[in-house]
Amino acid sequence: EAAVTQSPRNKVTVTGGNVTLSCRQTNSHNYMYWYRQDTGHGLRLIHYSYGAGNLQIGDVPDGYKATRTTQEDFFLLLELASPSQTSLYFCASQFRDNHYEQYFGPGTRLTVL
């Protein structure tokens, strides 16, 4: 079974702070995704990647950067965190084409004060 881990699991920062969320998958999946989940909005795609060095823009990218350093690791960067970025963040991986399901990590709860 696919294993996706995220760190940290909880993070509190202040407005203007610098935050990096980490995601690692250990099943050689090609695609990785970052989502935020907010009540009333469901899962919204921030950024995604086809492989190491590749980055694609999702639906709500403003205020976020991402980097895929290896096939296993995908990072989400908030360089000037704002209270509107307080949310639950999920990372997911997908094996190959669109007929394969996504496997989600346990989530990171971020609070920006």
Binding site: Y33, G42, L43, Y50, Q94, N98, H99, Q102, F104, P106
Partner: protein
């Protein structure tokens, strides 16, 4: 544009009765796949079932869904809801460019 619509934000059903969660979509892509994901309280979403074949019923854990391209729908149904089915359900459209679109989710509450 491409999108997924789940019309009900909350569905409440009595244990043992049938339940239906609605999902419709909009896309111009021909090669598509559909998923229902379930998210239990304080857990991550996980796939419940998937389909990419028109008019073919797919089943898992007592739930079933049929992709109907003619009506752009992929509704989720179960004949007898259980208390343990209470969760947040997402319908998702996956395109051949590997973009995935989630609906806003339907919270299912099963009451005794």
């Amino acid at each position: 544009g491409d999108s997924v619509t789940q019309t009900e934000g909350l569905v409440t059903v009595t244990e043992g009765l049938p339940v239906k969660l609605n999902c419709t979509y909009q896309t111009t892509y021909l090669t598509i796949a559909f998923f229902w994901y379930v998210q239990y309280l304080n857990e991550a979403p996980q796939v419940l079932l998937k389909s990419s074949t028109d008019n073919k019923r797919t089943e898992h854990q007592g739930f079933h869904a049929t992709l109907h391209k003619s009506s752009s729908s992929f509704h989720l149904q179960k004949s007898s809801a259980q208390l343990s089915d209470s969760a947040l359900y997402y319908c998702a459209l996956s395109l051949s460019n590997n973009r995935i679109f989630f609906g806003d989710g339907t919270q299912l509450v099963v009451k005794p």
